[in-house]
């Protein structure tokens, strides 16, 4: 009889990082970051979906919530060895304290970053079908992701040092309050050190700003880790010096690296209408919708003189021969998910923009009658019938006023084409003026 000897199966030693990554609290922390970002984005979808710059800003603003959350998650992870009572056992390990720290800190930081990046991918996918031009903005993403991972590692250092069960929620609340208070300090240059400081939709960073921001957050946390766990603690001075240098650059540069998005200055125009219609290049594909919404206005103004050349949609004041297109941004009011929410209201706003009398303190009743008749002819407000019904039920003065308005509207409608064109030409020569003597009688 012969014995068949099977060679022993080779023992596979998985790297400890693998076990730490796939088990325990780290995946849960990543899920918490993902879900929290999802709540932020889901609740405010009307505000950002369909605008690439708005999506970027919303994702960056979420750091106000995610940084404290990541720090608190790290703080809980940091207390793990104490809860397991394995601190003494670790003391007998061959690996040094820094390696032991990193093997539990890095997986958590990676999961937190992965949760955020997954949420970013979801947000970009959600914006894509509704975007009306422009391109995704990813310049803030590396610095934001590093800041989150750094917060998780920093929280872990705190968790190693503070033994209280309530330390994680306290750290989360304190972090939230500190970031929030720092945001409200609008004047101080120190606010640029806050990784969650607000970035306006129309701003883009210079190329070096994310590098300095990464140097600041990562350097600071690396210094804390080395001071806590390295054998030679003075090694912490090196990243600390780098962090201080990056921080000094951020503070002294102030607003410097933040410049107006070049796309905000360009516009897409339809020159076939009177006046011409221009829409900002950031959502240039909205132009057909805007042209359609204003088609009744522009059709009826065909051949009328003294009109501005175009509706413009750039940042800053309109030129002398232009008027401001009614506001499409911030997203969430006139434009939601790449569509005009209320074309009738929008057309009425456009007529009001052409009349340019919003700044007049008090209008002569004659001007008011002419304005109302022109609005009624070009683009009546959706609320007009409601206001008329209110006046019809009001006192004698309101009823008389309504009668006069109706009579003026009827007179403008009853004019012949040519006569009305002449009257409108004379009327538009007076827009922007609060003086009643110039407005043609109706």
């Amino acid at each position: 009889m012969t014995l068949v000897e099977t060679p022993p199966a080779p023992v596979r030693h998985a790297h400890p990082l693998r076990a730490e990554t796939v088990r325990g609290f780290a995946p849960l922390a990543g899920a918490a970051v993902l879900l929290t970002t999802a709540v932020v984005l889901g609740g405010s979808a009307d505000r950002w979906q369909g605008g690439w710059a708005e999506t970027r800003t919303e994702l960056h603003d979420a750091l106000l919530v995610l940084l404290p959350l990541a720090a608190a998650a790290g703080c809980r992870q940091g207390g793990r060895e104490r809860r397991r009572r394995t601190e003494e056992l670790w003391g007998t390990a061959v690996r040094g304290p820094l390696a032991r720290f990193l093997v539990s800190a890095l997986p958590l930081a990676l999961w937190v970053a992965a949760g955020y990046l997954l949420a970013v991918a979801g947000a970009l996918l959600a914006t894509w079908p509704y975007a009306r031009g422009d391109r995704p903005y990813l310049a803030l993403l590396p610095a934001d992701t590093v800041a989150l991972a750094a917060a998780a590692v920093a929280g872990q250092v705190v968790g190693r040092l503070v033994t209280w069960r309530l330390a994680p929620p306290l750290l989360a609340t304190a972090g939230f309050v500190a970031l929030g208070v720092s945001l409200s300090a609008r004047e101080s240059a120190g606010r640029f050190l806050n990784p969650a400081f607000p970035v306006a939709v129309g701003e883009v960073p210079a190329g070096w700003q994310p590098v300095a921001a990464i140097g600041w957050t990562a350097g600071l946390v690396a210094a804390a880790v080395l001071a806590h766990a390295a054998r030679r603690r003075y090694a912490a001075l090196l990243p600390l010096a780098a962090a201080v240098a990056a921080g000094a650059v951020l503070v002294t540069a102030g607003d410097g690296p933040w410049r107006t998005n070049p796309a905000e200055g360009r516009q897409v125009c339809d020159t076939s209408t009177t006046p011409q219609i221009c829409v900002n290049a950031r959502y240039g594909e909205l132009l057909p919708q805007v042209t359609a919404a204003l088609s009744r206005v522009t059709d009826r103004l065909d051949g009328v003189r003294n009109l501005p050349v175009r509706f413009e949609d750039r940042t800053g004041e309109p030129r002398a021969d232009e008027v401001q297109l009614p506001m499409l941004t911030p997203i969430g009011w006139s434009m939601v998910r790449g569509r005009l929410t209320d074309p009738e209201q929008y057309a009425w706003e456009a007529v009001a923009a052409l009349q340019r009398r919003a700044d007049c303190d008090a209008l002569d009743p004659r001007v008011g009658l002419a304005d109302d008749a022109v609005e009624n002819y070009l683009a009546p407000s959706p609320a007009r019938e409601q206001f008329d019904a209110l006046d019809a039920r009001g006192d004698q003065e309101e009823r008389d006023d309504l009668e006069r308005r109706r009579a003026a509207r009827a007179r403008l409608l009853a004019m012949g084409e040519e006569e009305r064109r002449e009257w409108l030409s004379a009327y538009f020569a007076t827009t922007g003026s609060c003086d009643s003597t110039e407005v043609p009688a109706l």
Binding site: V40, L69, P168, V177, G180
Partner: protein, 200 residues
């Protein structure tokens, strides 16, 4: 020492009471420093965060260090669990409104108590599902996320899902917070905190 005192000590209730008092003191101090005369909405961070912190404190006290031993007991645990949760919630509900007393339309004591009920409900439910040590996480994530998301959102649904940010008289917000409290209380009282074990 009788059973009630022993139970209170085993759930770290003295520290919990001190932490609740500290939360109230912090809230009163912060309210005193806020300039809310012109804009009552500036009280919102306080009305959202103070109940959140109090709920985290209450959630931390639901931890038991002797879970396996507890399960061998003859007497039922649910009356004690219920008394502990409701008692601490009632105490916090009596203390926290001290920070927003006076003329604060919308964000006064009713909003504070509603947010406390909602946050405590989520925390108690989380203690039953995730364990008491981690019970602060869902409430913190949700309330702070809603704090960011709900600004400028219109519609009726927002009064329900963004209940922590609503003025004190919104019925939908009360329904959501009350529902969360009821669900969390029932879940915790029936099941107790999830055993965490030494590996937690």
């Amino acid at each position: 020492m009788n059973g009630v005192l022993l139970y209170a000590r085993s759930r770290a209730l003295p520290v919990t009471l001190a932490a609740l008092a500290g939360t109230t003191a912090f809230a009163v101090w912060a309210a005193d420093r806020m300039d809310t005369y012109l804009d009552p909405h500036r009280k919102l961070p306080l009305v959202a965060l103070a109940p959140l912190l109090a709920a985290a404190v209450i959630g931390g006290s639901l931890h038991t260090a002797s879970d396996e031993l507890d399960r061998t007991a003859v007497r039922p645990w649910w009356p004690r669990r219920q008394a502990q949760l409701l008692g601490l919630t009632a105490l916090a509900a009596a203390l926290l409104p001290l920070a927003v007393l006076g003329d604060t339309p919308g964000f006064g004591p009713p909003a504070m108590i509603r947010n406390l009920l909602g946050c405590t409900g989520i925390t108690a439910a989380a203690a039953a599902v995730l364990g008491a040590r981690l019970s602060w996480l869902p409430a913190f994530g949700y309330v702070t996320a809603v704090y960011l998301a709900s600004g400028g959102v219109r519609g009726r649904a927002v009064t329900v899902w963004a209940w922590p940010m609503q003025p004190g008289h919104e019925a939908g917000a009360w329904a959501a917070a009350g529902g969360a409290f009821l669900l969390g209380t029932v879940l915790y009282v029936v099941r107790g905190a999830r055993p965490e074990g030494p590996r937690g």
